[in-house]
Symmetry: C2
């Protein structure tokens, strides 16, 4: 109830202008009691993330039980997120400036957000496990995390989406799901493997949250660490 009250006040008054005192008052509990459950306003946001991850998992259940096509499963899981997130669209837009900095505890990339992040990554793992198309084995290890990263891209797009009922975000999911499925299928081409491996490595090094960078299966780039600064950047042609 404290969490629900907080989210309502965040929506009505904005995140920055809502105090713990006001949340306690509206929820009809003492300030001490509110602090007992949530040590700070930031912790309320973590509670919100937990709740979103839970509702998202529940909302995606149906499509994951019914569909085996990879594109349909991707589409279903991402549309389920848009459904679950819809009531918070306005809040998200003004909240975004607090969460956009990866160094903020409110960032979905932060250590503090590991719990709900791992829950969503697990959802993407199940999405992949039940699909009829399999990725290149090396890519497969990192893929649930990369799909989570793609979802974060969708969140960024959605936050700025002013179209009615976020129709643009929905159209983006409709358009990209078959594409991502196709790219995953294409990852098995032998000739593309070095490129796939490099892209996966770079995403792992620069974009995935710190705690996940040493995830099992991450391999050093084949050219070794010298690649980063010293190696010849012109070794690019592959064998087209």
């Amino acid at each position: 109830m404290i969490l629900d009250t907080a989210l309502r006040l965040f929506r009505e008054r904005g995140y920055d202008r809502t105090t713990m005192r006001a949340i306690a008052q509206e929820a009809g509990v003492s300030v001490g009691n509110a602090y007992y459950y949530f040590a700070s306003k930031e912790h309320l946001v973590q509670g919100f993330y937990d709740q979103m991850a839970e509702e998202h998992t529940a909302a995606a259940q149906d499509v994951l039980a019914k569909e085996t096509g990879l594109a349909r499963r991707l589409r279903g899981v991402l549309l389920a997120w848009l459904d679950v997130a819809e009531p918070y669209h306005e809040f998200a837009a003004q909240f975004f400036k607090n969460a956009a900095d990866p160094a903020s505890p409110l960032s979905p990339f932060s250590d503090e957000s590991e719990g709900p992040r791992e829950a969503v990554i697990e959802l993407h793992r199940r999405l992949l496990a039940g699909a009829d198309i399999k990725a290149d084995p090396e890519l497969a290890v990192q893929l649930p995390r990369l799909l989570w990263l793609q979802q974060m891209g969708l969140v960024l797009y959605w936050v700025h989406d002013r179209s009615e009922n976020c129709a643009r975000s929905r159209a983006l999911v409709e358009r990209t799901s078959p594409l991502v499925a196709r790219a995953i299928a294409a990852s098995r081409f032998r000739v593309l493997r070095p490129l796939v491996r490099e892209v996966t490595d770079v995403l792992g090094e620069f974009l995935l949250p710190a705690g996940d960078r040493t995830a099992p299966g991450r391999r050093p780039s084949p050219a070794g660490p010298g690649n980063v600064t010293g190696a010849d950047p012109e070794n690019v042609t592959g064998n087209p």
Copy 2:
């Protein structure tokens, strides 16, 4: 001089807290005079973008004259941007929340920013024209815009980069430039063409600024507009 003064005050006091009156006062001109050159604070930011595009083009001159390797040209142009932008890193971090919304006139995606945006796209066009590796012809038309989009991705990364001298952003450029060059070379594989075309189309529809969406060379998706909502999302396998 008005612009230089404004940028100094933005850095010292923050964008939100700097008024046109204060800028005029510090620059030693009348408020009317300041408004004569810049109709609003937003226009000062546009002036800043113009100046950045100009300095960036000048700083990239050297590498574009000397290098023919695509990866080296990419690397040189992006590192030149990081050099030129460095003095504004702190300003950019706190300014970002005003510019991150694509609907804001301060967004690099806005109609108001078309001038400096086109200047940077032109720089990427020259980067590609002088390189020894050519892209698939269909991709080539959109590629300068896509490289501009990649640069915006770098800006987003850099804004949040807290490493010393933005070493992480530099490392990202070192790592991604050979990769992007390789991906451009790979775009010529016949078997990848449908995927390349689709990805280019989606980026054009959803991420490029509105004015650029009808750029010459953009073709409708081969499956037609029905693709967006009605078509079978499972046509994904290609022929791996």
